[in-house]
């Protein structure tokens, strides 16, 4: 059974749960299904996990296979700093706010467990700094101890006149992804190092349901004008005296184009680049200079810190997450695709909520297919 938050937060009975109950009533065991997940970043792996958790007992056998051209530590998720924090405002996208919160509560439930270190989960407090007073963010009640910054705290960060302090979770891709892969392979999920060039390819190979978690390169499988890369370049620094994340917000230059400093379990991630439409995965020296100079201005103690490496990644930016079903044809066969991509700079932040929703959509597919070997007799 999936782990729900123990931390007394909201436990919402979702539509998904009612469908599960419905399934339990109407079906006993469902015949073989083959699921092909494309993508082994945090989205692909966590979706495979949710589907397995909910359906491995109801579908027999349930074959889940993950296909990807890159695996950890080379995915986009691996480069992310790993701070759980959505964009400040969801612009009415309450669905995503809900999924973000689900993810936070889910991760928090593991925090005190023996698995936390192996999962790459830990708590860290920090600062969100703004140059003007702005409305409170969507996540203020989800994180812990959210409050406004006092004037004395703001005095430590010259140039910023308003902001918040809170404690949030870190989930480091470089640790979390191997943990997920281990979790999955222990349960029989297989991994294939292969670049998939079409959904049809997998359907013809026998996949009943394809889960499309291909992130920024989803357009290669199916053109999507709403999807664009949000190029990010970061610098990893050895600065173990920094114990808080510091995010600055500049509403003119836009999200993540303002310096941020996020300590991890080993190194500190320094960033502040978000270039829409830039497909280059090469480190750029001008970007490096901008990131470094702005970070040192924000946090002078960085000045003599040792730089370890640069890294560039492409955030899968979209107006909102594409999380929906699509029925496709290959010859005379139809097959189902569940799209789960376009999580921008908040993939780790939202992954669990989306994975659970994708699993719910999978349940819908099961219900509609009506596959059954032994229907429960009703007298």
């Amino acid at each position: 059974m999936p782990q729900y938050a123990e931390f007394g937060a909201d436990f919402s009975i979702t539509l998904y749960t009612s469908i599960v109950i419905l399934l339990l009533c109407d079906f006993c065991v469902i015949a073989a299904m083959r699921v092909a997940v494309i993508g082994a970043g945090v989205i692909g792996l966590s979706t495979a996990q949710s589907i397995y958790e909910h359906y491995h007992e109801k579908v027999s056998p349930l074959t889940i296979e993950v296909y990807a051209d890159v695996f950890t530590p080379l995915t986009t998720s691996d480069g992310a700093a790993g701070l759980w924090q959505p964009y400040l405002y969801d612009e009415g996208n309450v669905q995503e706010t809900k999924w973000n919160k689900e993810t936070f509560d889910y991760l928090l439930s593991f925090h005190s467990s023996s698995e936390s270190v192996k999962m790459g989960i830990f708590l860290q407090s920090g600062y969100n700094l703004c140059t003007e007073r702005v409305p409170e963010p969507s996540f203020k009640d989800t994180v812990l101890g959210f409050r406004e910054l006092t004037q004395r705290e703001l005095d430590v960060f010259p140039g910023y006149s308003y902001g918040w302090f809170n404690t949030a979770l870190m989930v480091e891709g470089k640790t979390y992804l191997p943990w997920l892969m281990n979790w999955l392979s222990q349960r029989g999920i297989k991994f294939y190092h292969r670049k998939i060039t079409s959904f049809k390819e997998l359907a013809d190979g026998g996949a009943d349901v394809i889960i499309n978690c291909t992130g920024v390169r989803s357009g290669a499988l199916q053109p999507d004008p709403e999807l664009t890369p949000g190029r990010g370049q970061i610098i990893k620094v050895d600065a173990p005296w920094i114990k808080h994340w510091i995010l600055t917000h500049n509403f003119t230059t836009g999200v993540y184009n303002s310096p941020y400093i996020i300590p991890g379990s080993r190194l500190v991630t320094v960033g502040g680049i978000f270039q829409r439409g830039n497909w280059s995965e090469q480190d750029n020296s001008i970007d490096h200079k901008k990131v470094w100079e702005e970070a040192c201005e924000l946090e002078p103690s960085l000045k003599h810190a040792q730089i370890v490496q640069d890294w560039t990644g492409l955030r899968p930016v979209r107006s909102k997450v594409r999380l929906e079903r699509e029925t496709m044809r290959s010859g005379s066969n139809t097959f189902e695709v569940i799209h789960n991509y376009g999580h921008g700079g908040y993939g780790l932040t939202i992954h669990r909520g989306c994975a659970e929703e994708a699993a719910r959509l999978f349940g819908e597919i099961l219900q509609q297919k009506g596959h059954q070997t032994k229907p429960k007799s009703r007298l």
Partner: protein
């Protein structure tokens, strides 16, 4: 006029802070530190170093506030500069948790740290055996880095260092005009002060780089302080215990207690065990007296007995010691032998 010769006895955080302030402020003087131990072998070196005062019963509250604020402001100046990592000073946030609501839920230092507030219910859920908590951000000052940084500053101001054990303050009077006694718990012998007693503290240094926030139980005996190179967990507060040997039972106890608060500690590697003797005293002794040395009068200023608050009060009490030296020199300068 001859330069005034000042001896500072002790090279822990109190000795070094005092020596730096003296060497930078006093005109026409030379300052020499005399100590048996230097960093990393002083009591200060093992302290976690979080700035947090306790309240002493007999010293006016204003003076205590001043000690703390002076130190806090001084260290805050360092964190905002590129010297911060070399000095070992940084911002540290965390929790104080209490099994019962304390008599003063909002202590006097709450206005000097950053963002002091009570913990929320959700935050308290992590600690089912505790009923109440305080959350705030303070400064952490790690002496293995801070003391060498102070020493560099001291030498830059012309200070001298002599590695020697002082066993008798009177003996120093033949060479020095002013003696500042920063001998910590050893003032018990050196100044014959039975009012200063050891409060033995044993700690463990762990490698747990994922820990960022401190947690301290209100009893003061269970705490977790993430530092630059390791996490300090503790501890003990054994009054009148002079043992500098490690106690296996103490280590086991603190590992058990701290793991209850922070389960992930069970995955942490133990790097080192350490013992130090806090210079306990009812109140810190910061006052002056005169020693007779033949026909000379030598000023003796005491600055010791800060208990577990040495680092927290270091810069502020060093200022008081400096003032005592200045006042003493004005009132009664050393008489020159005119022959």
């Amino acid at each position: 006029m001859k330069a005034v010769k000042v001896a500072v006895v002790g090279a822990g955080v109190i000795g070094l802070s005092t020596a730096v302030r003296l060497s930078e402020a006093l005109q026409n003087s030379s300052v020499t530190i005399l100590s048996e131990k230097f960093s990393p072998d002083t009591t200060s070196d093992g302290a976690a170093g979080i700035l947090l005062p306790e309240v002493f019963p007999d010293i006016p509250l204003d003076r205590q506030r001043r000690w703390f604020k002076e130190t806090f402001d001084h260290l805050q100046g360092i964190i905002e500069s590129p010297e911060a990592p070399e000095a070992g000073v940084f911002l540290s946030s965390g929790y104080h948790i209490f099994k019962e609501v304390p008599s003063d839920p909002k202590p006097l230092w709450s206005e000097y740290v950053f963002g002091f507030r009570f913990m929320t219910d959700r935050e308290m859920k992590r600690f089912p055996n505790h009923k109440f908590g305080q959350a705030f951000t303070s400064l952490k000052c790690e002496c293995p880095r801070y003391l060498p940084w102070l020493e560099k500053r001291f030498r830059g101001a012309g200070g001298q260092i002599k590695r020697e054990k002082v066993t008798d303050l009177q003996q120093l009077t033949s060479t020095y005009d002013v003696i500042v006694n920063c001998s910590g718990v050893w003032a018990h012998h050196l100044a014959g002060d039975k009012g200063v007693y050891p409060v033995r503290g044993q700690i463990l240094k762990l490698r747990a780089t994922w820990l960022k926030n401190f947690i301290r139980d209100g009893d003061g005996k269970t705490y977790i302080y993430p530092g630059i190179d390791y996490v300090t967990i503790g501890g003990t507060r054994q009054k009148d215990d002079w043992r500098l040997e490690l106690d296996k039972g103490d280590s086991e106890d603190m590992m058990k207690q701290c793991s209850q608060l922070e389960p992930s500690l069970q995955k942490a590697e133990v790097l080192e065990e350490w013992v130090g003797l806090r210079p306990g005293r009812k109140n810190p002794r910061i006052e002056s007296e005169w020693l007779q040395a033949g026909d000379r009068q030598v000023l003796l200023v005491h600055n010791y007995g800060h208990g577990g608050c040495g680092i927290t009060l270091s810069w502020g009490s060093a200022l008081d010691a400096l003032e005592l030296v200045r006042n003493g020199l004005q009132k009664k300068p050393p008489i020159e032998k005119i022959f």
